[in-house]
Amino acid sequence: MKGELDMPERSAICREIDADLSALIDAELAPEREAEMRAHLDDCDRCAQRLQDLCNVDLALADLAAPMVAADLGQRLAARIASDSGERSVPVPDAASPKRSRTVTPRQPRRSLRRRLMPVAVVATAVLLAIVVANRQSSEVDPDPLQLARTLRSMNPAATLPEAATPGVNFGSLPDEDLAVLFEFDTVEDLDVIANLELLEQFVAMEALEG
């Protein structure tokens, strides 16, 4: 691969180290090998920079905006299951939700998903860039990129995104907090308000320019 071709002058040891850097990030190495790697990285600026570059990939991936699960995805799945098994479809009380809508609440006209997620993605990206820049510029404060990448990786994927609406659509049986998620609490809008007031103003100005 291209990344490997860029290392013609590396010693045999550095090449061996390089081959295991991803496994180091992913905590897949035996403790002895990890200790060897860390000792080498402490002494080799080039390999340490290479590790930083690879960790930055994980940070960039973690920074990408996550898609929202459509409020009616569960209902559509329930309909497919009912059709597939020859059962009668479960009554769906949420008539206000458009068939293919990707909105969380059906109460008001919404901006497109991309427009709504953009400010959140921008803020997250800005934070990431600030971390990366600060990490490069400061020799006194040296956050461990490996630890950061591993922390991101260790997050339970099922816990990093809001749960979707149930395919059974038995809303009457849902606890209050689930009903709040379905009908009241709008994650994206709240993130817009809480984390992004200033940038929202910028986007209003941008949309005015575009319009």
Binding site: L61, L77, A121
Partner: protein
């Protein structure tokens, strides 16, 4: 280990006839699965369809389910196969090529804060583009290991390859992305 896995417990409950357990599994995993599938097929509508199809197959297969692996590994293996099949369909390539045009939003050009917003927007788009350029199995292996937090053994199960292959796939994917994104991170050292 399996007795501690909440997902396995739910799947076993569903197999025994508890529909609420299936609801719970859907609610826990549809979001992460949609994220993974969107990165794989780069089309929101296709990804949603594949999420439904994956859970439909889980529903159909409930009586044959055996808790010899984590539920998520099984689910992502189903989803990966569906995504790879989708990527081989001619219709997907046509849809995919049109999405890039829709994503090319007009960019304003004045004000330092606006410039920062635009730069960040471009960076995110660039990462997605470069991720999409990776070979399918490298993309899948990197997303499963680096984003979804799977161990290499679990990625190997999901992709039906060896752990050694996973190690190589993940490293090649990370290396290629690092190389291609390096200039955008402004390496000046």
């Amino acid at each position: 280990m399996q007795s501690l896995d909440e997902d396995v417990r739910l799947m076993l409950a569903f197999r025994e006839g508890d529909p609420r357990a299936f609801d719970r599994l859907f609610r826990r995993w549809s979001g992460p699965l949609l994220r993974y599938l969107e990165r794989m097929v780069r089309d929101a509508a296709s990804a949603e369809d594949l999420v439904q199809e994956a859970f439909l197959r889980v529903h159909r297969s409930r009586e044959r389910y055996s808790p010899d692996a984590r539920f998520s590994t099984w689910l992502y293996r189903i989803a990966t196969n569906l995504a790879l099949n989708e990527l081989r369909r001619p219709r997907h390539k046509a849809v995919h090529s049109s999405i890039g045009d829709e994503q090319a939003l007009p960019l304003p050009s004045r004000g330092p804060a606006v410039d920062e917003v635009v730069d960040a927007r471009r960076m995110g788009g660039r990462v997605e583009e470069e991720l999409a350029r990776l070979p399918e199995k490298q993309r899948a292996a990197l997303c499963l290991a680096a984003v979804e937090g799977f161990s290499y053994a679990e990625v190997a199960q999901a992709l039906d390859v060896t752990e050694k292959s996973v190690k190589s796939l993940v490293h090649r994917a990370r290396s290629t992305l690092a190389e291609r994104l390096r200039e955008h991170w402004g390496h000046e050292e």
